[in-house]
Amino acid sequence: MSGTGGTNVEAATGLSIFSKYEPLKQRVDVVKKIGIDPFEMAFDDIMGPTRGRIGNREIILAGTNNYLGLTYDPAAREAAKDAIDRHGTGTTGSRIANGTYAEHEKLERDLAAHLGKPSCIVFTTGYVTNLAAMAGLAGPNDVIFIDADAHACIIDGTRLAGTTTVRFRHNNPADLDKRLARQKIPEGGHALVVIEGLYSMFGDVAPIDEFVEVAHKHGAYLYVDEAHSYGVFGPTGAGIAEEQGVLDKIDFYSGTFSKSLASVGGFCASRHPEFELLRKVMRPYMFTASAAPSNICAAQAALEAIKSRPELRTNIMARAAQLHAGLAEMGFDLCAPASPVIAVRRPNEAQAAMEWNWLLNEGVYVNLAVPPGTPESSSLLRISVSAAHTEDDVSSILSRFKALKDNSAEIMNEMMRRIAASA
């Protein structure tokens, strides 16, 4: 692989600054021979929370993490439009400069109240939330413990923190217990345990209640990322921690606006009032533009829906159960019990890419997820269910998966033909 820059080094070695990505390029080339590159595809139109369009073909969206389907909720749309009319399209400043509006502060107060915490800070994205909060919390003498299946933003949070980081076995409080006991914490330091509520790839739920017990037994702080579970689980939508009755014991609770809150942004709440001090410490909070007023106001409207419309949670759980049961009945290898994230394990990356293309061609969009972004080096067809999906939508998705199974030999032959034809 060579670039076109023509530096002296490139001329002498035949290597460019892009050469290190040669193995990646080979993988991408195989995927492109099979069909559309799943990581670069674009919709020609999105018409609603469950429908998109490519060319003349209508697509059922089953991989958007739009769990409550609120991106088209009339109140959220109206709030965003009204915010643009009143405050313009962007803040042009960070939270510590001119970028904090009354709406940012109101949303922080309301999220804090929903979670029963004295402090909540709103960030520009969910990714930035974990990056900022983890790096702000953990100092040189502290040790971070992360779940083996932690999301990239948590791993990057440990990198930005630059402190000792230990990984424990996925969803295994006993393994964390062992590693907390084994690890020496430097003088003056503390342990910070970071887990997620619902894991985004396999869709499995964490035993947060057991993690609370283990973390606090060792005097560690517990940080829970409920990006995929806030709004979806719990009697009032406050997540898996609420459902398991331990919300008040969570030291730090993070989430995103880009799923159930129907917008773009993120938040971290804490039961420690001193968390407010981190506003003057967290570089990804201090040195990036604040969330646009339209995003903040849409999230505010979605928050009100989360609190006042429990039927959204009833709907999504019913559709998730329907889809999971249907796929299980067909004999698909599913990675976890029913939840709004349903991952179908496939034998390898090429087959998964081919099947992803086939499903899209048949009118269903799911996510293709491949290593190293997946646990156990799995290749997955990942589905996220929405409260906006109807029973008929799920039946349609199931019928496509049934056809996928029935035509598997033909689909594989086609894949081999495409790879061979472009060799």
């Binding site: 440990t158 076995r169 084994r182 690890q183 020496k184």
Partner: protein, 81 residues
């Protein structure tokens, strides 16, 4: 305290299931580059080594390790510390 050779042998044993192409494992073998073990599997291997030797191998230590020999050295240093 295990010898350098014992640590190397243990790593070879634990690497087997991840070494899908059955390539020869040398001290100079790049774990990811030569043996084609992906990053997720490397961390799983590390957890097995942590449990076997009852030590903690932080992620930042692993990020500096490229070859099997470097992993042997890293474990030896942690056992001695």
């Amino acid at each position: 305290m295990p010898t350098d050779q014992q640590i190397f042998d243990k790593i070879c044993e634990l690497l087997k299931p991840y070494n899908v192409k059955n390539k020869p494992i040398l001290r100079t073998s790049g774990i990811m580059s030569d043996l084609e073990v992906d990053s997720t599997a490397v961390f799983d291997l590390i957890m097995e080594l942590e449990d076997h030797y009852d030590i903690s191998i932080p992620m930042e230590v692993i990020s500096d390790v490229k070859t099997v020999g470097e992993l042997v050295n890293a474990i030896q240093e942690l056992l001695e510390s």
